[in-house]
């Protein structure tokens, strides 16, 4: 097994505020292998965007990694300076596609110019090499290479998103981080963007960390996933593990809040309460207030991530996980078989 492209180990990230330090991410761990598409799912305040930013050294000024490791191909990068991130990580090894990224295209610069800017700063490629590479990528994401010299506003929203993906791939990074890549898009555009993201897998060897609140997307498009709540990793593992054998109450219940168009009559579950607003240290399971199966022990210290049923690739942080199959017996929807599957 080669080194994972990205490995996050016991990561703790804090924000300094007037009222003291806020623990935005607590003891998070997950790994992404070569060519793997990994979904990071959670609701507001769960820490998924924070982790994404920390990987490329893009935390806000008052954010810092208080402990833990971020490893890129085995090398620890959490303590890099901004200069080191710029030189060694950003664009070349890890690319980030931020939220509503069509807004990150410079509106007064033609696309190919923006590409040339990138290659000039980070590589020693000739102009011709860059343009060839860009044309190749345009092709892979389904954009006509003849439009490389257009301005961003000449593309529609979905196409702009694909332009950003093409630029993110320009310098051949090993990992792309996409933060809510399709939230601003209509469902048909979303489908097309996701189709092209899958295409990329066939032509280029690149891993994807997709951050989203939409668990349906993750189940469809990703190979592995991590579910987060209130800064903690609730569950992490392969798609099939988390889908068929979820061990954390949040993963179990979260799946049931998403409508499945195949079963429109199925009742959706509500989860009590709201995602917590974090402040200060985290000394308990942040899902405890909302969990139907919480016990006093759940509030005695942040629960550790442990292997589920002995599978070291399927982690969860519920201290009652071994009882979950029983406790949540009527919650797991996909166990039901209906006659009219779509």
């Amino acid at each position: 097994m080669s080194e994972p492209v990205l490995e996050v180990e016991d990561l703790n990230i804090r924000y300094e505020t007037d009222g003291g330090d806020v623990a935005a991410v607590t003891d998070a761990s997950f790994a992404i292998d070569d060519g793997e598409y990994h979904g990071l799912v959670g609701e507001s305040g769960c820490g998924k965007s924070t982790i994404a930013k920390s990987v490329i050294g893009g935390l806000d000024a008052n954010g810092y990694v208080s402990s833990g490791r971020i490893k890129f191909r085995g090398e620890e990068i959490q303590d890099f300076t901004d200069g080191e991130y710029s030189d060694r990580i950003r664009w070349k090894n890890i690319s980030m596609i931020p939220q509503a990224s069509m807004n990150s295209l410079d509106p007064v610069m033609r696309i190919h110019k923006q590409a040339l800017d990138l290659s000039e700063v980070h590589t020693d490629w000739s102009e011709e090499e860059t343009m060839d590479r860009l044309a190749e990528l345009f092709d892979i994401v389904g954009l006509p290479p003849g439009r490389m010299r257009d301005y961003p506003h000449q593309f529609s929203g979905g196409m702009q998103q694909r332009v950003v993906i093409a630029l993110a791939l320009l310098l051949e990074p090993d990992l792309i981080i996409a933060d809510e890549p399709t939230t601003a898009l209509d469902v048909i555009m979303q489908d097309q963007v996701m189709a092209y993201l899958q295409n990329i897998k066939e032509d280029i060897d690149v891993s994807l960390l997709m951050i989203t609140h939409d668990i349906s997307l993750v189940f469809e498009e990703c190979d592995s996933m991590t579910v987060m709540h209130g800064g903690q990793v609730a569950e992490s593992g392969s798609i099939r593990d988390v889908f068929y054998d979820p061990k954390h109450p949040y993963s179990i219940l979260l799946q049931k809040t998403f409508p499945d168009i195949r079963f429109p009559d199925q009742e959706l579950t509500t989860i009590e309460g709201t995602p917590p607003i974090l402040s200060g240290e985290v000394t308990e399971c942040t899902f405890a207030d909302r969990c139907p199966w919480a016990e006093p022990a759940c509030r005695e210290g942040a629960p550790p991530l442990e292997a589920s049923d002995g599978n070291p690739n399927h982690l969860n942080s519920c201290i009652r996980s071994h009882e979950m199959d029983e406790l949540a017996a009527d919650e797991t929807r996909h166990a039901e078989v209906t006659d009219d599957s779509y």
Partner: protein, 358 residues
């Protein structure tokens, strides 16, 4: 559909916008001969909404659903066509009747974080529509309406400010504010898209309950077919200012007729790693309301386009409750004879036979 009269109905509703909005631009256009073609945001829409029912209107951005909403609520005037409320056309409304309409037809907005004036307490926000409509209600009524939206205990919420409520709570206060004047119709514009997923379901359940228990007609507008299918009993699909298909939810999902509806349904992600979904495959750009083609608005992207699509199809009843605006689905000869209002259709000479596909 129920046999009773619809409480709210539109007939050929149109809302066009001028491309130039300021006097300066109008002048400039006249001088330079620029485009003065209006944007046909809503272009001839026929819809009916009944009490005790939740209807959905789905469509992507640019389809005109927001404009439709604003016109229904009276925030702008229709360019053509008619809205019938309780049988009476709104174009004949007196000022007093409009005021009454605004009490009985209410709108829940998309953004719960802007739903309340940040300077208002919940109590003040709830009292506002009461004072606008001259209704006198006591503290008990405020409590009752908060309970209808599951904000309990109500006394805990009445004196809170907007900034002290969660997103879901804000949206519920917004709903309560609309309910307090005893309306007949509630229009909801993407009411849950800005909320966390775990909160969305609670709000959807509140809406479902309102339609069932309180004789309300709920009209739910969204681009998210999954949530629409979850709570709506019937669905209307909009594309570029037209309703292209209308059917009970289950029927629409099982048997979509319009090519756009089919593509839309095909594009929905299925939360199942083992489900092999064929992707939607629509060519061309997403719709641009500014440069509409002649004939069917969808023809440039339609995988089943035919020659006849250069003529605008009508919204044709393919089954008792199922209407589709597509040449593939209607018997042109029959229509030519009987028509919707007795007028023969242009497509007479190019009839496609029995309404089947070519």
């Amino acid at each position: 559909m129920t046999a009773t009269e619809p409480i709210l109905r539109t007939e050929g509703l149109q809302k066009y916008y001028d491309q130039s909005t300021t006097p300066l631009e109008v002048l400039r256009n006249k001088l330079t001969g620029g485009s003065s073609e209006p944007i046909k945001a809503v272009d001839g829409v026929d819809l009916s909404f009944h009490e005790n029912q939740i209807s959905g209107v789905i469509g992507e951005s640019g389809c005109g659903k927001t404009t439709l909403l604003e016109t229904l609520i009276g925030l702008n005037d229709p360019t053509g066509g008619e809205i019938y409320f309780d049988g009476k056309p709104t174009s004949e409304f007196s000022k007093g009747e409009w005021h009454e309409y605004r009490r009985r037809v209410r709108l829940i907005f998309q953004n719960p974080y802007e739903a309340m004036n940040p300077k208002f307490t919940v109590r003040r926000a709830l009292k506002e529509p009461l004072s606008i409509h001259g209704l006198d209600k006591g503290e008990d009524d405020l409590h009752a309406v908060l309970e209808r939206v599951n904000l309990t205990p109500p006394s805990q919420y009445l004196d809170k400010y907007e900034g002290q409520l969660s997103g879901g709570e804000k949206q519920r206060v917004a709903i309560a504010r609309e309910l307090i004047v005893d309306p007949d119709v509630i229009l909801a514009d993407e009411p849950v898209s800005m909320l966390d997923v775990s909160t969305q379901v609670a709000i959807l359940h509140v809406l479902k309950q309102l339609a069932a228990e309180d004789d309300l007609s709920v009209i739910y507008i969204s681009h998210d077919i999954s949530t629409v299918s979850y709570i709506c009993e019937e669905v209307n699909v909009m594309y570029l200012g037209n309703v292209v298909e209308s059917a009970p939810t289950r029927k629409l999902l099982d048997d979509p007729e319009h090519p756009y509806t089919r593509e839309l349904l095909r594009a929905i992600p299925i939360p199942d790693p083992d489900h092999d979904r064929t992707r939607s495959n629509i060519p061309g750009n997403p719709p641009d309301p500014m440069n509409l083609p002649t004939g069917c608005n969808f023809k440039d992207r339609c995988p089943d386009r035919m020659e006849i699509c250069d003529v605008d199809p009508v919204l044709y009843p393919t089954a008792e409750n199922h209407h589709t605006k597509c040449h593939l689905h209607y018997d042109h000869e029959q229509y030519a004879e009987t028509g919707a209002d007795g007028e023969p259709v242009q497509s007479e000479r190019r009839a496609v036979g029995d309404g089947g596909r070519e």
